[in-house]
Amino acid sequence: MISPTLIWVSVLLFTLLGGAIALKAARGNTGTADDYYLGGRNIGGMVAGLSYAATTYSAFMLVVLTGLTYRGGVGALGFELIYFSGLTLLVLFGPRFWLAARKWGFITPAEMLGARYGDRTIARLVAVLSLVFLMPYCTTQMAGIGLLLSGVTGGDIGLPAAILTGAVLAILWTLIAGLRSVAWTDAVQASLMLISALLAVGFVVAAIGGVDSFVAKVKASNPQWLDVPGPGLWSLPTFLALALPWFFFPLSNPQVSQRLFAVRDVSALRRMIFWVLGFGLVFTLIAVIWGFAALVLTPGLENSALATPALLGSGAVPVGVSLLLIIGVLSAAVSTLDSIALTLGSMVARDLLNRGAGRDATQVFIGRVIVVLVVVFAAWFALQKAQIVDQLAALSAAGLVVTVPATIGAFFWRGGTAWGVLASLVGGSAVAVYMAIFAGVSVFNPLLATTVIGVTVALFVGVSLITPAREEALDFQTALRPELDRHRVW
């Protein structure tokens, strides 16, 4: 077990470092909504890439993915890499999102869809869906922090104290300077996550006796874990059920797609993608190797989500490195939490409450209030451990995927109409909620994702074919083609 005092001192140092960075970032802000939500659309490739990575790779990695490896073996690596392969979508959509946002001044992805199809109701509906599915996801980040701090201290740091820590950091760094402080602190947090995890994995592999000994021990003790479907968790249907909705994460999750609006230029966008790729691949391998190491060093855990705390408490990792990794996992949770809160703030201000151009101060104020409310909601429900919140959080990927057909259609199908989008959003999300919550279909069952995607696509295409496009709808394909050609984008 690790002393709570050491953990609190580390958290304090981390808070001071992050606070100093956030305050420095705040100097660049001019008070406009563009500045607060998108960092003045002037974020460089490295900071944008690390921020995107820290937002995408949450506490899920070293808590849930490690646990899935512990429980089911190498299939966890395949699942996460299929999700990783979803980044190929950025080759087509990255420059299109960026150009559209520049040309028409969009701040949120919901606003972009509303303008494309000529109906503000679409923007409002996308904002509501994002709130419904992402706020519970924030709760799981809080729970991750609680699980870790409580686990490594043997319960000396309780859930309320751990959750309060995460909440204070997320609120502080978002309120100070919006995306500028979030992106800068994300970049530092991503570095911390990677360095601490690399060090920790190095120590556990050494403790096991090196790579050869590690492989030999896994082969001897858990041979099934090196194969798929492995000991049972990663059957092909389960693999597909999880991988399919997560593949579309770069398009379906506004907290990451909004990052595409914030980069300085196409060169920065390209650098951003390379940073995400490098970080994602290395961090995925680390999380999976970490799970295998826990299998060797701390076998027999009943709750696989406790693999990371168990490994940190095993004595294989020096206390200093353990503290660094604890801060790394805390970073992963906070960076995801504050990014989601900021994006939801922008969606409520611009899409739900319609505080558009010329009302920058109001937009920023509303965004700040929403950031606090989202984080307080997440903290409260993490403490309550409400079942409905857990169900919605598990459903977040399959729920948000309903925005994907409309997003693809926005750039590649002129025939898409507002009614088609509205039908697909309402129908798809209703099916997702009905199946998962009322009919009890598990997110591990591929029937859920395939039905939701099938219904959403069918409604979008079918209703679009029999309804006229709005006169005020934008034609992205025609309007963006000259710029896409100039930047040599397919």
Binding site: T88, D227, F239, F247, L285
Partner: protein, 59 residues
Amino acid sequence: MTGFQRWLLVVGILILSGIAIPYGALSGGTVSVEVFVFWCVFGAAVVVAIAAGVTRWRG
């Protein structure tokens, strides 16, 4: 076939192979790290495919 169509085809095959090969050819054999190594190579191939798509971008 245009450059974009070729790229799309390669990416499609790559992603399908990321599921089909481990669950088909590599599944159920003798105990080895083949599946782990395959997915590492798959991840690297995804990076190469994305790099091929974005290196042509200009300014």
